[in-house]
Amino acid sequence: MDKKELLKLLNNLEEQGPETAQTDRVLIIDGLNLFFRNFAILNAVNPDGVHVGGLGGFFRSLGALIRQIQPTSVYVVFDGAGSSNNRKNLLPEYKSGRNLQRITNWEVFESHDDEDDAKVDQMVRVIQYLKTLPVKTVTLDKVEADDIIAHLSSVLPKQKEDKVFIVSSDKDFLQLINENVIVYRPMEKEFYDENTVRQKFNMSPQNFIIYKTLMGDNSDKVKGVKGLGEKKLQKLFPELQERDLTLDDVYNLCESKFKEHVIYARVIQNIDSLEKNYKIMDLSNPMLDENDKTYLNTVVDSDNLMYLPEQFVAFYNEDKLGGMIRNVEFWVKDIFEPLNSYNK
């Protein structure tokens, strides 16, 4: 390299400016969602005949997610005690009828109560295991995990390149997607960004709340507009594909066209209940008071998390999880040591 070339190279280096800060990759996990999927799918029992599918599967899934996403921090979020009360005040039937049926049909549980007990035991144990790992376990009384996740996903990206990955099979989170926020749906094994939402639903993530408001959510007992299905929604509201809409925009559209289709008329007739739907499902304004937000911000700022790999392994052996995680000593260090290195 001659002198001229060297000077040119040096000039270019100067123009690049200061070194860019490291970007954050935050993994936020809907804890109960991950647990239930494993609990319902994995019929694993330990040598004492105790069902351990939810517990072992939870950590297997958590490890796989960390390996895949390689986050710099991990939050596992759970519903707090009495978490659905706020929304029940708005809509008494919200989430009613849940937990009436067993979610497994294995002989290991003799009754529904037996299954419920196992859920609680394994879930409590999941928390105890999580406390030995450099992950943040978050819950707030009377607050749903969705609201916590929504708040975290809005405050965690500190710079343009930061990414937040929300892991849940709950479609509600799709409305949170933006240039920083990606949703991973484990059932489909697919990452949803703005483009994916557009391809699958023909609308922007911002309009997804309108979609949910009009369609309702059977699993939460939130009723949508009667007679409105996905195809009809796309046909009657082509504006959803074209621009971001507010609920007022939707009313105005329906008012101008209410004679054209009964669905438009039903929207006008059900303004009050649709507004409730919107309030219940809108995660851009999570149901959190100022104290809740302050607490969550403290959690975000806290560091020096506990990392006790030997204790994790001790719990694992105590629970006789055997081969649920292969070579657990290596696994725990392989997965969580890199994560712990960010935790300083």
Binding site: G31, L32, N46, V50, V52, L55, F78, D79, G80, A81, G82, S83, D116, D117, K119, V120, D121, Q122, M123, V124, R125, I127, Q128, K131, T137, V138, T139, D141, M306, Q311, A314, E318, D319
Partner: protein, 360 residues
């Protein structure tokens, strides 16, 4: 899996479990991890001023494994004896484990070791030596396992309260005693010996020694080992020969303080003599000394030191002159009185053969 109280709903159970603070103290109690973690303040067994000046450390760190290594006649035993004399003065009990039978009581006494001679009243013959030390040699110690057993036995006695002293184990030397298996098969196998060192010392004795640094231990024990060395041939014509420890590296890994005497390919000493009329007294040797490993305070230095039958002195004219004056009367007796000259023989390079593997 511990069963929880069933009165709680899932979200209540999760919530209360998350809020339950992790208490490290109760965790430690539950797991029996409550032993005291505090270590004693570091103390040293001081060696001579010259050693301190050249190495910038006070001497031998107590509660550690210390290696003194180098070719023959480079000052290792001088350092070992300085440590013993200094320990004795401080009420620390020296325990000599002499597996290389080059021990010389006269030299030890000359260095200042407090020794009582047991004399036959009739003949005046010295029958034995005793005093404030423990001495054992190849009469009873024949293998690496014997050395380990002997040290552990004394530590056990100390623990029982039967030996109320800080102990300074002085082993001369690693590499001079085989393991049981070598003895039984009548074949000195270096791999077996190294294996025994690792099993007996690396996994057991050394840990007992360094454990005594903890505040919970009433006594502090130290192990100083002389380690014989050999020279490894360079792998390529451009490579450098390397100083290797005999008997394997278990002790090297466990030691926190290593002093190397002399050079790699030779002892690297030069002899200093008093000469008169063709008679000469070789009274000192100049030698390189280097701290190779220091996990105590991190100081690693190298320099030259002069070793005499009475200990180390500084390598400068003033110290040599002072030593000469102190010893003049003794040398006059040998050299026949009058003035004598101090002469220094050129660097005494004794060719040391480099090997491709540890010699048997």
């Amino acid at each position: 899996m511990p069963r929880g109280k069933k009165s709680k709903s899932l979200s209540e159970a999760v919530s209360s479990e998350i809020k339950a603070n992790f208490n490290l103290d109760s965790f430690k109690n539950k797991k029996g991890l409550t032993s005291k973690a505090k270590f004693k303040e570091q103390t040293w067994i001081p060696l001579s001023d010259a050693y301190q000046e050249v190495t910038s450390v006070p001497g031998i760190p107590q509660g550690h494994i210390v290696l003194l290594r180098g070719h023959s006649d480079t000052g290792k035993t001088t350092a070992l004896l300085e440590a013993a004399v200094s320990a004795q003065k401080r009420g620390i009990l020296p325990v000599f484990i002499i597996t290389e039978m080059k021990w010389n009581w006269e030299h030890a006494i000359q260095m200042g070791l407090e020794v009582n001679e047991v004399v036959d009243e009739e003949t005046g013959e010295i029958l034995d030596y005793n005093g404030q030390f423990i001495y054992t040699d190849r009469e009873t110690i024949n293998s690496i396992e014997d050395v380990a057993g002997f040290i552990l036995d004394l530590i056990d006695e100390q623990k029982k309260g039967n030996l109320p002293y800080d102990l300074l184990f002085l082993w001369d030397s690693i590499g001079s005693v085989p393991c049981e298996m070598s003895i039984k098969s009548n074949k000195n196998n270096n791999e077996w010996n190294a294996g025994a060192m690792s099993t007996q010392f690396g996994n057991s004795v050394n840990q007992r020694i360094v454990l005594s640094r903890k505040e919970s231990s009433p006594y502090t024990n130290t192990l100083v080992c002389i380690n014989k060395v050999w020279t490894l041939k360079p792998e390529s014509p451009m490579g450098q020969p390397k100083l290797m420890n005999k008997g394997g590296y278990a002790m090297w890994f466990d030691s926190t303080f290593v002093v190397t005497f002399g050079n790699v390919m030779s002892a690297g000493t030069s002899k200093i003599k008093a000469i008169k009329d063709g008679k000469q007294v070789e009274f000192a040797k100049r030698v390189n000394i280097q701290i190779d490993k220091n996990h105590i305070n991190g100081v690693t230095t190298r320099g030259k030191i002069v070793m005499t039958p009475h200990g180390f002195i500084l390598d400068d004219d003033k110290s040599l002159k002072s030593y000469k004056e102190d010893q003049a009367s003794a040398w006059k007796a040998i050299l026949g009185g009058g003035d004598f000259i101090i002469a220094e023989e050129d660097q005494a390079y004794e060719d040391i053969t480099a090997h491709t593997k540890e010699p048997q």
